[in-house]
Symmetry: C2
Subunit: 260 residues, 2 copies
């Protein structure tokens, strides 16, 4: 990659891991910009780069990556100095926010990493799918940048990215919550929740050799209303889990039995 300089705006989990992923790819960001002096300053120090507390203070930089909350993207983009809004590529990393939030910038793009990040948790950056969008010149530059980090680079437009974000919420947030509810159920009965771990692992490993449609088993899959009824009797009818159990079971039954 030619001599480009990059500014990461934000100091949350995505900004943190993106900055480190770029550094690992041999491309240390020039500056971290964050209103949060503690987190932003610490991140800049870790990377050995500059720190600024306001995008207004940015001078010359080629690419500006906005990793800030969805509601802040447009506000922050509009605070970028006029000259940079003309010359620099300005991209955001959000799964849900349209590229239109960057309409004040001439070279707007999307640089969305489809992964869940927690500060203390190492991630294998090479496998992260990067979803890029923008006019072709911008996407070309972002493509080069993404390939420094990962082998999985996709060109995904605004509408596709919104669907993708929804799907990501389902497989990550919702799956994680089901695991929480199941483990919580056992803990309340003083059963070690770790007993579920081999099953959880196999659930995910299984779909590497078959589709989830093929891998499905269980009472709803075989329309075993007896077992479903007995499970529901174990749950508090007022609890969210009671309704979740009923709805997902119905959805499985619909998937396998209604078309037949």
């Amino acid at each position: 990659m030619k001599e480009q300089s990059i500014a990461i705006v934000g100091s949350g989990n995505v900004a943190y891991h993106l900055a480190h992923a770029l550094a690992k790819g041999g491309f240390i960001p020039e500056v971290i910009v964050s209103r949060n002096e503690n987190k932003g300053g610490a991140l800049a120090k870790e990377l050995g780069c500059a720190y600024l507390d306001d995008v207004k203070k940015l001078t010359s930089v080629d690419i500006i990556v906005l990793s800030v909350s969805d509601s802040a993207i447009q506000i922050v983009a509009d605070r970028i100095p006029d000259s940079l809004r003309k010359s620099a590529i300005v991209c955001h990393t959000s799964g849900t926010t349209s590229i239109d939030a960057l309409q004040s910038c001439d070279k707007a793009g999307i640089f969305y990493p489809l992964q869940t990040f927690s500060r203390d948790r190492k991630v294998d950056y090479k496998t992260i799918p990067f979803c890029l969008h923008g006019v072709s010149d911008v996407v070309d530059e972002l493509d080069t940048l993404a390939h420094l980090i990962s082998d999985n680079v996709y060109h995904i437009d605004d509408e596709e990215r919104k669907k993708l974000h929804l799907a990501a919420v389902m497989v990550n947030n919702f799956t994680n919550h089901l695991l929480y509810l199941a483990k919580d159920l056992l803990e309340k009965d003083h059963i070690d929740p770790k007993i579920l771990d081999p099953l959880i692992n196999e659930t995910i490993n299984k779909i590497q050799s078959m589709t989830p449609l093929e891998a499905q088993t269980g009472p709803a899959r075989r329309k075993d209303y007896n077992t479903i009824e007995r499970h529901l009797e174990l749950l508090d009818q007022e609890s969210p889990l009671y309704s979740i159990y009923g709805l997902i079971s119905q959805s499985i039954i619909k998937t396998y039995h209604e078309d037949s």
Copy 2:
């Protein structure tokens, strides 16, 4: 283990893998009993053991493992010859059926493997949690048997086992269905569903170093009604997924925001 002989009754996925797991542990079953001559006969042939088409024909055997459907357990148990119902340990492998279904047998037990089995899919038998129940003499024998297969052996009573089975349905069946719904959503939009796989893997890997309660992220976790609303707009209001999305989001919000 002393010279014991074992009969596996059934030829479904659990019977198939249990028989192979025992053989791998150095303990080849003496006989496979199944009304299904094709599957039962083939399994017996694979193991190099005898085959019978009816439990009525069983003569001398020390342990009888019933891996048949929940509704057949009591019926099959009652067909075991009188003398064996007195002398042999008779156990079943069901997560939901009470030990009372074996009340016609003097030495009744539970031998429940907490794992999902598909015939064509290899499983690491060593990690399967075996949940045992019965009077102490019976459990001692089953404990020895289970340890031939696995390092994870638990003593779990009838009530606990029912909760465990419910939790297993949630982490396996329901998680798998969510993965199906998410991938189906992408396929309908001609997006390669494999793009979700790194996120799915990280979702599960993450909870090896933190609890699901700590690992939770996403719009519902941060009470971001804007994003939730935009996701719901992408879904057909009549679809099960629409209701599932709403309910699980509510449940996450309740978990993190209602007690505070």
